[in-house]
Subunit: 465 residues, 2 copies
């Protein structure tokens, strides 16, 4: 039966693509209050698609955007797979660099000649969520999906999933499963599909320095009043030493060192530093001394400023002492750093710097946004073996095992609330520009990914429960 | 004759105020192209007023807004005073906080009970320019102004006077004078009128750090690529040491130290640190160690960030490595720092930090915006003595000598092109909120200022040429 399903997938590219375009055209930007209705519309679109193929599907209310939950008819004796995707997307700004508008999905060639679909959310994560929906649809045409599926599609991944863990906690019985499956990761490169077994975590903070209650004339007041922008920069400059090491006390506590085996395996991967940085228009990389680029991305923690804002930012000159200055600062964590400990260590660091420097007259506030623990999945279990096999069927290439530098907080939520491991079977490519203008998804990755998932359902369905 | 002129000024407050309201009602915002016609109308209004009292007055074209030039009938053997004012104003935004609209001049009580006229430009500089125009008018009614006057009123002060120096250079003979007189400064406080004898200069720079050609996902790239925001903060943090001293090499070259006499005089001024900072909602001041607040504002150079911009600045979290980060940085200079040398020292400093830190893969650019030299007027000359005497006549109080932290670039233009010193005889108050909503000019300052100028013309007229 899998053969027929794969053939159907191969012979209906246009039908799949046309439906994906509908999905991508909905501006489901979760962070924007003005797109609240679009998020609901997007959830309903997905629920309708899954209802149409015979799933029991609903868009459920949460205090934020809805969660779609869909199940096929339960088949006793077969394992249950919890498939997770998200329908929300990052804001498209800045708009200028987009070649085609972010919510007018457009198929065109990539700069190096591959067909791809361009839109915000193309690969993160509507395109990959759609690969599941389409693989499920094809199985439903051929006697039904050969495994029990619970499909949840959330609408708040890009804002830190504030309502998902409570939703899962409140619906544990309904979401009970044997394994979770998430397609929100990448291949190692074109031609090297991959299963991801390690993810970095995240702690996202904001630091705000406040001085006078309004911007002051820099001539009349400069020199006599504290300048929040000067002080913010002095604070942030203490976060690293010259070798790129993070200088927050206790920051590296619990970090599992890379094994000699991992370092050796990763060295074998066809990774070209020069091309990697040239693609970003960088003359060189820069990072912690003593580690390769792949090691820095996959297995070392970071501390990066994500945004700075203070005072006058227009063209030309305005002579003011800003009333306040603030920075978004996030840290990527690796196993087994603890997000709560790191957030506390960061806050202590800022407070210590403030008290050591002796600035007067300013308020320094530290605020925590979202956080997510790092994850490391055991690679020797039967589910991972199914995934490797499915990927070989889907792509016609032997996949590799890799880690990823990004965070998928849901992985640790599944572990703690549902007590299951997560398979990370994703199809993105390093040049997909997720979160950036001109996000895309290679059509080859979309269709081979759909094949992989179709095969994976069958392989997981044959495992003993 | 001065007695009669002063009496006329005292007995015609309403006439003066009504004309000033016409002047203030014209929205002569020099930075806005849509107010170009208003600027011309404002220049013509001033030229007409001066023509009406018998001056040869015209609004002269420049590549930007017109300059008004007006002269009384030349009286051989008498000195010539070049009076300078500006008819252009800052934009009124933000509009919300204005109690009465910025271009509907309104007389009402200040929060502490003094009558004042509220409007954009009330004190900076239409009100003070008008004080000259009215004092001149009163003298013309009584036999003529007893000194040769060349009055220039420019329309581009708030945008850096790009066309004024070329205009002066092209009309040197016509503008030849013995002394310049500018009313665009402040009293020390209510009840303490002042002659300003020192101004700080300005060098305004921009620093931009550029990394990859687009914002990058901080999970996928963080740790392996240079972060322009991290690097910008590390650069800017090198500008000061912990005691507030500026660490740019050669920065303090040429700074004239405060004299023991100045420090002693300034200590006697009724200045309350606590009230000064409480008015700004600051718990404390902060600045260079070893100097008082007044010394820091008037006589010490500064280096202040005026604006920071990088990456994500909206609410919540966005996990990106910004493609670039930039800062506006300005330095207030004191006599005898040289703006050109300081701009070069700043640029060298940034380049040195970059090369010492060894960051890779980023471009660091330094760009110079405007600059203005500092100024220090000798206080022992006869013209300053006339100004002190005139102010005592005008206000009925002994004035003090003070410096100011702001810059008035025209002072050094007069020095270099016309080889004259400038008298800074201004009537503003520290709570006038120039460049901010609810700008005002105390009526007491307006009328006593007009008296002061009437007396000053007479005193300067009696000096030997």
């Amino acid at each position: 039966m899998l053969e027929q399903v794969l053939r159907d997938i191969d012979q209906s590219h246009d039908a799949s693509l046309n439906a994906l375009k509908e999905f991508l055209a909905i501006p489901s930007i979760s962070t924007s209050p003005e797109h609240k209705a679009d998020c609901r519309r997007c959830a309903q679109w997905a629920a309708n698609k899954l209802s149409a193929i015979g799933f029991a599907a609903t868009a459920r209310d949460t205090p934020g955007h809805p969660v779609v939950v869909a199940k096929n008819t339960h088949q006793p004796g077969r394992p249950t797979v919890l498939v997770y995707g998200h329908y929300d997307v990052q804001p498209p700004e800045p708009l200028d660099p987009w070649v085609s508008p972010p919510f007018e999905p457009t198929v065109r060639k990539t700069p190096d000649g591959h067909d791809a679909i361009y839109a915000r959310g193309a690969v993160d994560d509507k395109g990959q969520t759609w690969a599941h929906m389409y693989a499920l649809a094809m199985w439903q045409k051929h006697g039904g999906v050969p495994v029990n599926i619970t499909f949840i599609i959330e609408g708040e991944e890009e804002v830190g999933s504030p309502n998902l863990a409570p939703f899962i906690a409140a619906n544990k019985d309904e979401l009970k499963c044997d394994v979770a499956l998430v397609s929100d990761t990448q291949q190692f490169a074109r031609g090297i599909p991959a299963i991801t077994y390690g993810l970095r975590g995240l702690v996202y903070m904001e630091v705000k320095v406040t001085g006078a209650d309004h911007d002051l004339h820099s001539g009349l007041y400069g020199g006599a009043v504290p300048n929040p922008a000067n002080i913010l920069c002095e604070i942030l400059a203490t976060l690293h030493d010259q070798s790129g090491k993070v200088m927050i006390e206790n920051f590296y506590d619990g970090v599992i060192p890379l094994t000699a085996g991992e370092r050796a395996e990763w060295k074998k991967l066809p990774f070209n530093d020069e091309k990697f940085f040239a693609d970003l228009k960088l003359s060189s990389g820069f990072g912690e001394a003593g580690y390769s680029t792949i090691e820095r991305k996959w297995a070392r923690p970071t501390c990066d400023i994500n945004g700075l804002t203070s005072g006058y930012q227009g063209p030309g000159a305005k002579t003011i002492i800003p009333s306040s200055a603030s920075a978004k600062v996030s840290m990527r964590l690796v196993p087994n750093q603890d997000p709560k400990n790191i957030a506390e260590a960061f806050t202590r660091h800022i407070e210590r710097v403030k008290s050591e420097k002796g600035w007067k007259g300013v308020k320094v506030e530290v605020h925590a946004h979202s956080s997510a623990p790092p994850a490391l999945v055991p690679t020797d279990g039967p589910a991972v073996q199914c995934a490797l096999k499915a990927m070989e069927i889907g792509f016609g290439e032997k996949p590799t095992l890799m880690r990823e530098g990004g965070s998928i907080p849901i992985v640790s939520t599944f572990k703690s609330l549902l007590e299951v491991d997560t398979l990370l079977v994703g199809f993105g490519l390093p040049d997909d520009r997720i979160h950036s203008p001109n996000e895309k998804f290679d059509l080859d990755a979309l269709f081979k990914g759909t094949r992989t998932l179709a095969a994976l359902y069958a392989l997981l369905g044959s495992l003993k429960t």
